[in-house]
Structures are given as structure tokens and as C-alpha cells.
């Protein structure tokens, strides 16, 4: 029996969302009194997998498992699911965790369905109670929570980014153990013809520590409004979000949308500028630690969910905030 965490990596570094899961997995493994393994998948050209594994080794797993193959050069669900299953079999993993990125959700679910095991997707909490592993799901668009328990020998969960804090690296490093991997001949998978990174350098909404969002309140001059949002975001090292109204009006692309039919986010700080606070929007951001609302309408529902509010013209308040933040943060 063991706990296994799949660590995604980007540009030679483990993904923050995966390390957050690994941090909490330490407590789960201790609670279940079983070893904790971190799994790094990559090509057998070596360098990237090894440097990621060396980095992950400082985050308190009992060992980092590396599983390499030329077949793993590009993400393909069919192949990655086989690799995860190979590691599960090799270590007799009984609790299998991934970050709930798109890849993490899909790979976790595929392995769970293949092994006919219980699955809890996109969970917001993990704990051990009376020797039993429990995952907490947020359903009805974050309006209902439920404790999930599992029957059968294996439990699978993908964990929402920022559900747990980023762990601190330790001084001592866990051993790195390479595992053998041979792709089954009959594997069903996709062929990637072309792949490119989009929005390079942008902070992703789900990983962001700070988000500045714009809404219908910028309608008077949307280009200027979102330029002001972006300037504040740049100053605070934040991601740019938007309400559905702003996306539907074409002010910004859909990938910025926060809410029920957009992304669920939980940053430390969420600044909503010109967003009235439709419940579909609130469902996507009410897990934020501190919410600031800037709106001209003092009766806007967003103020009922906010910790700090400014009634005013966002075309004046946003540049003033950018200036004040730049001054105080140097």
C-alpha cells in the first residue's frame, strides 16, 4: 500500500499545483501509515526528467519515481494513463492523487475507470479519519460540499489547484528510483500533429495568487478599462479575469472568464472592477481569501461578498491603485 502523486512539469520545473498536492499527500500517507511516492513522467533523453525529480525530492516524498520513454515526449492521455497505471502496479499504490488541471483530471479519471476504482474529481480537501481516506468534493458549482469515501482497494482523486498551500522544500532529498516502462502494444491513444503554448508568460487564473477582473462596468470604454485592469495586474504580478458579461460583449477572450461557465478560482486576493456580482460569477470566485469590489453602484450585490469595497469610477480608481501599489511595493 502507498500514496502516489503524479507531478506534472513545465519547462523543467514541477507544476506548483502538483507540489501543493504532494504537500498534503505527506499528511495523508502519515495518517494511513504508508509510504508516499512522487511520480515524474518524461522522455528518456533524461535531463528534464532528472532535474524535475531532483527538485521534487526536496518536498518530503519517501522516494521520487521516474518513468521515462520516448512515447512520453508529448502529453497524450492514452499513453500517460498507461504510465500512471504502470507506476500504480509497481508500488501497489492505494491512494492516487493528481492536480486537477485538465491533464491531471483526465489522467486520474482514465486510470481510475480502467482499474474499476472509485474516483473523486476536482476535490477541495483531503483527510484521513479513523484510518479511512476521505476526499471532499465541491458540487453544484461550489454551492454544496460532500465527503467522498471509497470502496475497493484503490482511491483516486484530482485536487483543485490552490486547495492546499505550497509546501516548503526541505534540506534533505528523497532517493530517486527509475521505473521500467513498456507501452502496451494495443494502447488506444491520440496522435498529436502540432502543439504550441498559447498566452506565453501569462499567469494562469487557476494558479494565480492575485486576480484583477473586469466586468460590464468597463462598457463605457472597454479597451481603456481592460488596459487599466492589465496595468494593475502587471504591477501586482496578477492574472486578468473577467465576468461573463465582459466576455460575451467581446472585451476579452473566454479564457479569462471566471464563474460557473468559466473558471473556478481561489486566489489570496480577488479585485472585481465594474462587476455587479451575478451569482454565476460569485460561484467561481467566492473561495478567494480577500475580495475587493470597485463599483459605481453602492447597491451592487458584489459588495455583499466583498471584504473591502470602494464606490467610485473604475477609470479613476484603477490607475490610482496601480500608482499606490507601485509606490508601496517599490
Amino acid at each position: 500500500m502507498s500514496v502516489l502523486v503524479w507531478i506534472e512539469h513545465i519547462e523543467g520545473k514541477p507544476a506548483a499545483s502538483s507540489l501543493e498536492v504532494l504537500g498534503q499527500a505527506r499528511a495523508i500517507a502519515d495518517g494511513l501509515q504508508v509510504p508516499l511516492y512522487a511520480l515524474v513522467l518524461g522522455t528518456d533523453t533524461g535531463a528534464e526528467t532528472d532535474s524535475v525529480a531532483a527538485n521534487v525530492a526536496n518536498y518530503a516524498p519517501d522516494a521520487v519515481l521516474t518513468l521515462t520513454s520516448p512515447e512520453l515526449a508529448t502529453y497524450r492521455l492514452g499513453v500517460y494513463a498507461e504510465a500512471l497505471k504502470a507506476a500504480i502496479a509497481a508500488q501497489d499504490a492505494t491512494v492516487i492523487l493528481t492536480a486537477a488541471t485538465t491533464q491531471g483530471r483526465d489522467v486520474c479519471a482514465a486510470a481510475a475507470f480502467d482499474l474499476d476504482a472509485g474516483l473523486a474529481p476536482d476535490v477541495v480537501d483531503l483527510r484521513v479519519e479513523d484510518g479511512q481516506f476521505i476526499a471532499v468534493r465541491a458540487i453544484y458549482s461550489n454551492n454544496i460540499l460532500a465527503d467522498i469515501t471509497f470502496s475497493g482497494p484503490r482511491s483516486f482523486a484530482s485536487v483543485r489547484p490552490r486547495a492546499f498551500p505550497m509546501p516548503s522544500p526541505a534540506d534533505n532529498a528523497a532517493p530517486i528510483t527509475p521505473l521500467a516502462f513498456e507501452l502496451p502494444a494495443d494502447v488506444v491513444t491520440e496522435t498529436v500533429l502540432e502543439s504550441r503554448v498559447v498566452g506565453g508568460g501569462e499567469i494562469s487564473l487557476t494558479d494565480a495568487r492575485i486576480i484583477i477582473s473586469g466586468g460590464r462596468g468597463v462598457a463605457h470604454d472597454p479597451v481603456r478599462g481592460f488596459t487599466l485592469v492589465e496595468e494593475l495586474a502587471k504591477t501586482l504580478d496578477a492574472a486578468v479575469g473577467a465576468s461573463r458579461a465582459a466576455v460575451d460583449a467581446g472585451y476579452v477572450p473566454y479564457k479569462h472568464q471566471v464563474g460557473q461557465t468559466g473558471k473556478t478560482v481561489r486566489p489570496d486576493l480577488y479585485i472585481a472592477a465594474g462587476i455587479s456580482g451575478a451569482i454565476q460569477h460569485l460561484a467561481g470566485m467566492s473561495g478567494s481569501k480577500i475580495i475587493v469590489a470597485i463599483n459605481q453602484d453602492a447597491s451592487a450585490p458584489i459588495f455583499e461578498r466583498a471584504h473591502y469595497g470602494i464606490v467610485g469610477d473604475l477609470y479613476e480608481i484603477l490607475p490610482a491603485l496601480t500608482a499606490a501599489a507601485a509606490k508601496r511595493l517599490g
Binding site: L119, P121, D122, I139, I148, S151, T191, V192, V198
Partner: protein
């Protein structure tokens, strides 16, 4: 060619916050039920692909016997046919694993389906797992978060997907499962003719035991269903003599909160 589109009936998004923990526990959610918003994109794509590649389309839904409005919406949009799989007396018995087995069997029961299209997720379950489960149980390839179907030819589909900041062009052999994102199309509003056709349609219902399913024992159990704790909601309004004054006070407060 035959395209199956999976439809779930879910509460209207405006009513989700009113859903009580007790209603979820007892499977008695009293809300206006509509087609899951994400599934409208799936239905629209099925209709467009049917026009582009001369296919027939069928909508499949798993739910209580009276849950026909989602399927009727798909029919009104222009999907050719619909089938409801009756989830039976005890909806508690159907977890993600059982739902995947049931829906995979339902797709097989439609005959030679070349393409299964689903929405990205449902607004009630939020699992994004159905598409994965169906593909794995059918043993066919899956592409999630598809934003464009480039071509379907010679027994394979070429699609673009966008996920985790990476845009890919991906090819899969048919049959295959695709889940579609919001970027893929603009779902049509049903017109009068469509609504009339859908209201007159007889939607066949299949019982679970007609699908020849094996073990459907749930692999997960739900407990302690509850509302999230309500948080401090007392807003502190920042007053000031000018925008600059208000801005400085807010920045001070955020520094004190240690969030910037």
C-alpha cells in the same frame, strides 16, 4: 456516419445557490431544470458536423424518467433523435463509475456510433469525468476540451484542443469521444418549428436492465453533504477625499492582510 451527443439535465445556473444540502442528499432538488449549459455546445457541434459530414445525430441522456426537457431542447435545436436511459428508483446507486458503464452501453445500443460528443462538464456534478469514463469503457480514444473540429475523413477525426495553456492539433481514429469547450461554437436558439417538432416527439426510454450491464455497485459513497461555511461578509467600505486617497487606504489594508 452517426454522432451521439450526451445531454444532462441540470438546474438553471441562477438557482444553483438555492439548492439545499438536504435536497441533494435526498435527490429531491426543486429547481427549474434545463439542458446543462455546456451540453448546448455539444449539441450544436453535433448538428453542425451532421451538416458538414452528412451524419445522423442522436441525443442520449441518463436521468429520471420525467427528465425529458434537456433532450427536448436538443431535439428543438435540430438533433435528429433522442433516447432517455431511466436512472431507476435509486439515483444514489449510480456513481461516476456506474454512470460511465451505463452511458457506454447506451452508446453501443445505438448501433454504429462513430463519434460521441459531450460538454466539458456539468454545472451540478462538475466532474468532467463522464467523457473519460465512456471513452475508457468503450476502449476508444478521447480528446477533451476540443475547440475546433478540423476534419473528419478516412476513418479519423482531426481536431484542435485547448487546455492548460497548450493548443494542439490532434488526430484520433474513429470511433472516438470528444468533449467540447465553449470556444467551439455559438449554440443556436431553437426556432418555432424546432420547438414544435420537439414537443411532439416521442422519446423512447430504455431501462437499465435492457442494457445488459454487469456489476454497477458504486465505488464511492457520499456523506456529510453540506453547504460551504459562510464567510465573513461584512464589507469594509473605503472612504476618502479622492481616488488617490481611497487607493492608498486600500493598498494599506491589503498590505496588512498580507495578500500583496
Amino acid at each position: 456516419m452517426k454522432i451521439a451527443v450526451l445531454i444532462k439535465q441540470t438546474p438553471d445556473t441562477a438557482e444553483l445557490p438555492k439548492v439545499s444540502a438536504e435536497a441533494v442528499s435526498t435527490h429531491n432538488v426543486q429547481a427549474t431544470m434545463v439542458i446543462n449549459p455546456w451540453d448546448e455546445f455539444a449539441a450544436e457541434e453535433a448538428i453542425q458536423l451532421a451538416e458538414r459530414f452528412n451524419a445522423e445525430t442522436v441525443a442520449i441522456s441518463l436521468g429520471p424518467a420525467e427528465a425529458l426537457d434537456g433532450l427536448k431542447h436538443a431535439l428543438a435545436m435540430g438533433v435528429d433523435a433522442a433516447t432517455l436511459i431511466d436512472s431507476g428508483a435509486d439515483p444514489n446507486a449510480i456513481d461516476l463509475s456506474a454512470a460511465a458503464k451505463i452511458l457506454a452501453a447506451a452508446v453501443q445500443a445505438e448501433g454504429d456510433v462513430d463519434l460521441v460528443i459531450t460538454g466539458k462538464q456539468s454545472v451540478d456534478g462538475n466532474s468532467s469525468a463522464a467523457q473519460v469514463g465512456i471513452a475508457r469503457k468503450l476502449g476508444v480514444p478521447l480528446v477533451t476540451n476540443v475547440v475546433k473540429v478540423v476534419d473528419i475523413a478516412d476513418g479519423s477525426a482531426t481536431v484542435e484542443r485547448l487546455a492548460d495553456g497548450i493548443q494542439e492539433t490532434v488526430q484520433v481514429a474513429l470511433p472516438a469521444v470528444l468533449s467540447v469547450g465553449k470556444e467551439i461554437n455559438e449554440p443556436r436558439y431553437p426556432n418555432f418549428m424546432g420547438i414544435r417538432r420537439a414537443s411532439r416527439a416521442q422519446i423512447p426510454t430504455r431501462e437499465l436492465d435492457e442494457l445488459g450491464l454487469g456489476d454497477l455497485a458504486p465505488l464511492t459513497q457520499w456523506a456529510n453533504i453540506r453547504k460551504p461555511e459562510s464567510r465573513r461578509t461584512q464589507v469594509q467600505m473605503i472612504e476618502g477625499s479622492s481616488p488617490a486617497d481611497k487607493a492608498e487606504k486600500l493598498v494599506d489594508a491589503l498590505l496588512a492582510e498580507k495578500v500583496i
